[in-house]
């Protein structure tokens, strides 16, 4: 599955990949990267439209409140099936490995749509669960400062979160990811407006 069918041409340049690798490994408070205008503009619009036809289930517990699709491995939508197939393709896994230097499991991914509406949130946690290596987010909405919904990354001392150091504001067609580790503490800021925060997120797994 050729990368150039899916990614913006900018990300196909070997020099760009080398720069991104450096940026990822120098990122604070833990290894992460944010790639704007990542996917081909036609593809991303198709993905957005396709995701909006999926069924979202409202989920609420002490740690979170948002709506989520089932894992898109079970989707009947061809666009989303193709998108999933691309994410687990050898070409894209190699691309992710070349930036992160992580050995990722082939053909293996968790993938679901998430929808945060007014007052939805996800409190601080580290995402650590056996097999999870890279957490990723594909934003399909653009949020402004007053809308909330930013991804917040925390500093930590001795693997305990202390304060927010970096925030990633969702922008349409931004692909963000971080390495899951004992210090990958993050949260999703409460959405504080009527703007809806739509995204696809999940994890690449350890080889």
């Amino acid at each position: 599955m050729p990368l150039h069918h899916w990614l913006s041409p900018h990300y196909l340049n070997p020099k760009t990949i080398s720069t991104l690798k450096t940026k990822f490994h120098n990122a604070k408070p833990f290894l992460h990267l944010e790639l704007n205008n990542f996917f081909n503009s036609q593809k991303i619009k198709q993905i957005e439209q396709a995701l909006k036809t999926e069924s979202f289930e409202f989920k609420q517990a002490d740690l979170f409140q948002f709506s989520q699709t089932k894992d898109l491995i079970s989707t009947k939508n061809k666009v989303l099936q193709e998108f999933r197939a691309f994410l687990i393709s050898t070409e894209f896994i190699d691309f992710m490995e070349s930036i992160t230097c992580c050995k990722l499991k082939q053909k293996s991914i968790d993938l679901a749509g998430t929808l945060y509406k007014d007052t939805d949130f996800l409190l601080c946690h580290d995402d650590q669960l056996e097999g999870r290596k890279i957490a990723y987010f594909l934003y399909l909405s653009t949020m402004k400062k007053d809308d909330g919904g930013t991804l917040q990354l925390y500093n930590s001392i001795k693997n305990k979160p202390t304060q927010i150091q970096t925030t990633i504001t969702p922008h349409f067609n931004t692909f963000a990811f971080f390495q899951v580790s004992p210090k990958s503490f993050h949260s999703v800021e409460e959405v504080t407006s009527k703007k809806q925060r739509l995204a696809i997120s999940g994890w690449f797994h350890d080889k």
């Binding site: 002490d62 409140q65 007052t119 409190l123 601080c124 979160p161 409460e190 504080t192």
Partner: protein, 187 residues
């Protein structure tokens, strides 16, 4: 200090508590003592406290009228009657929750108290703002306590072992949920 209706119906309350493991009594305090507590709370100095992975709220020292209430024979007799616990040790904590405050399930003590008491002094709170005190028993069943000013809840933690305070969202604005938590540990 205590609503006379409840003092006259302690047997019924105890039976309900025995049956359901939880009892909620509205308008528990007489208007006079409630007014005194409200005046104190309006002047109370709150201290922010948080541990990101477990809780975020403010605490304050118990006010003189609250201290007087919880040490009164009238109050203690009612609680002991409900719990059928004759000799116990009380521990209290006064907390306040506003926008962005919460407690998570793993904030619960590894061994919860046998019984828990909650006195809610929250005025004019928009339920849309969250902040519900919620108990779970690990089977996916959730019990949300009502948000009501001048309400007493007594909970048998054997049947409701896990507790959290739902995240308080931006509809809280500047308002505060003021709650007195009490634990009963048998001696």
């Amino acid at each position: 200090m205590i609503n006379r209706f409840y003092l006259q119906n302690q047997e019924l309350i105890q039976k309900q508590f025995f049956r359901e493991g939880i009892v909620v009594l509205f308008d528990i305090l007489t208007p006079e003592i409630l007014a005194k507590i409200k005046i104190e709370l309006s002047k109370t100095k709150w201290t922010k406290d948080h541990h990101i992975l477990t809780y975020s709220y403010s605490t304050a020292l118990l006010t003189p009228v609250i201290k007087h209430l919880i040490s009164s024979p009238e109050f203690q007799h009612l609680i002991f009657k409900i719990c059928q616990q004759k000799a116990s040790l009380f521990q209290f904590q006064l907390i306040s929750c506003t926008w962005k405050n919460y407690t998570l399930l793993h904030d619960s003590q590894s061994k919860p108290p046998k019984y828990e008491i909650i006195l809610d002094f929250t005025d004019d709170w928009d339920p849309k703002a969250g902040g519900f005190i919620t108990y779970t028993n690990g089977t996916g069943e959730y019990t949300k306590l009502p948000q009501h000013n001048n309400m007493l809840a007594v909970i048998n933690r054997k049947y409701h072992p896990h507790k959290f305070i739902q995240y308080c969202n931006h509809y809280a604005q500047e308002k505060q949920r003021m709650i007195l938590f009490g634990s009963i540990h048998p001696k």
